[in-house]
């Protein structure tokens, strides 16, 4: 199968189409919605399942050196990408330094939902990936926040990193659940997986579809509300920056010599933008930054782009660069 048909095939999946349905529903102002508590429950389920499966995979095929190096690469990518994003954003849009720094922090951090969707694409294509990529995802959440705050301090002062905020970022519920489930999976291995497989494997894709339906609705509403908030340059940044991030991720993957599936995940992590952890940190540390700008960009522009076009595009690129 050539890379283009591979890319095209990943577009027509229940996961992507569920997201598109949600996006469509929101854009045509349908009253379709997923109750808040149900969405929260699905999010907890997905984090637990992906963390657990990652831990089991590491228990079976552990490679500590590669894990350590990939973790380090993830942390460095998360810390460096905001500087690139800041420069590109200042070049492409009319955003002020404060808003640009806040946006840049989002692009260094990650979207765990995009990561989960990518693992699902890999599984449907029969492409293996390393379980430790879950730990890499967790490690890439926070460094970008520090980079964004440093950018603000350098450019105009302000931006405080109080001790309580640092604890909240490092121990936020998603990270604790993801890493906790990863450790449980690593400790209990295949035997543990067999015991709870009906929960963490069988319903996974169906739940992911419903969750992405909800994300589509939220992204669509964000796009509707964000109309007029972003100039054309900023919107273009929301599409160009993930591709730049993906190239950084691919470069790191080639240097590390990790296999195709893991390379795609590192690309996706580098390409995606946070819309949960970083916005919360920015509201505390940089309340003067315009949250409509960074939320609309990360959730309304980059997230749909990555999910519908980015993942197959990155997979095609990685297949060419690394071979499948």
């Amino acid at each position: 199968m050539d890379v283009f048909s591979l890319a095209a095939e990943t577009l027509v999946t229940p996961i992507v189409l569920s997201f598109v349905l949600g996006l469509f529903a929101a854009l045509v102002r349908s009253d379709l919605s997923i109750p808040e508590a149900v969405a929260k429950g699905m999010s907890l389920y997905l984090l637990f399942a992906i963390g657990f499966k990652g831990g089991v995979s590491l228990a079976d095929h552990g490679n500590e050196l590669t894990l350590g190096l990939t973790l380090l690469a993830g942390v460095l990518l998360s810390a460096i990408i905001p500087f690139v994003a800041y420069a590109v954003l200042r070049l492409m849009s009319g955003l002020n330094a404060l808003d640009a720094a806040a946006v840049a922090g989002h692009y260094g951090s990650i979207s765990i939902v995009t990561f989960v969707a990518s693992t699902s694409v890999l599984e449907s294509q029969g492409i293996m990936y390393d379980g430790y990529m879950v730990a890499v995802a967790a490690a890439m959440e926070a460094p970008a926040i520090l980079s964004a705050l440093w950018l603000v301090t350098r450019t105009k002062g302000g931006g405080t990193m109080e001790p309580g905020l640092w604890r909240e970022i490092m121990l936020n519920g998603s990270i604790v659940l993801l890493i906790g489930a990863f450790l449980i999976g690593m400790i209990t291995g295949e035997d543990g997986l067999k015991e709870i497989a009906p929960l963490v494997i069988a319903p996974f894709k169906g739940v992911l579809c419903l969750f992405l339906l909800d994300m589509g609705i939220i992204a669509g509403r964000g796009l509707r509300k964000g109309r007029g908030v972003l100039d054309a340059g900023a919107i273009a940044f929301g599409i160009v920056m993930p591709m730049i991030g993906a190239i950084f991720g691919l470069g790191a993957a080639v240097l590390l010599g990790i296999p195709l599936g893991s390379a795609l995940l590192l690309m996706v992590l580098s390409a995606s933008a946070s819309y949960i952890a970083v916005p919360a940190a920015m509201r505390v540390a940089l309340p003067e930054a315009n949250q409509s700008v960074y939320l609309t960009l990360s959730l309304g522009v980059t997230f749909p782009f990555n999910l519908v076009i980015g993942i197959p595009l990155y997979l095609a690129l990685a297949t060419v660069a690394i071979g499948g």
Binding site: S33, E36, A39, G164, N172, G173, M215, I218, R221, G222, K225, Y275, I276, A277, P279, A280, R283, V284, P287, E288, N290, Q291, S292, L299
Partner: protein, 103 residues
């Protein structure tokens, strides 16, 4: 029935700032307050509803304190350190309570 004068302070603030605000309130020796969810609204950033929330810090909450008038300044000084840079609304109204010793 005998009633007593009190002050009611309503602070509507981002959910992410809630624990910082309640810490500040307690620092001002106010141990009684209620926290109410805010389902949605509209402000300078436009309209929003809880259904659009995806993060733990999204949305707004309202903290309601009923205190003796003499404690108002200490409470406001402490709370203002938290709410100063953030979006939200602080209102103070006169009210009356039945059991003064509880406030």
């Amino acid at each position: 029935m005998q009633t007593h004068k009190a002050k009611r302070v309503d602070i509507t603030i981002e959910k992410i700032m809630l624990s910082r605000l309640t810490d500040a309130i307690e620092k001002a020796d106010v141990s009684g307050y209620s926290i109410l969810p805010v389902f949605g609204g509209s402000g300078r950033s436009g309209a929003w509803t809880r259904e659009d929330n995806i993060g733990r810090g999204d949305g707004m909450v309202q903290v309601v304190c009923i205190i003796k008038p003499g404690r108002l300044d200490a409470l406001l000084d402490s709370a203002f350190e938290v709410v100063d840079r953030h979006i939200g609304v602080v209102t103070i109204t006169d009210c009356e309570v039945l059991r003064a010793e509880r406030f």
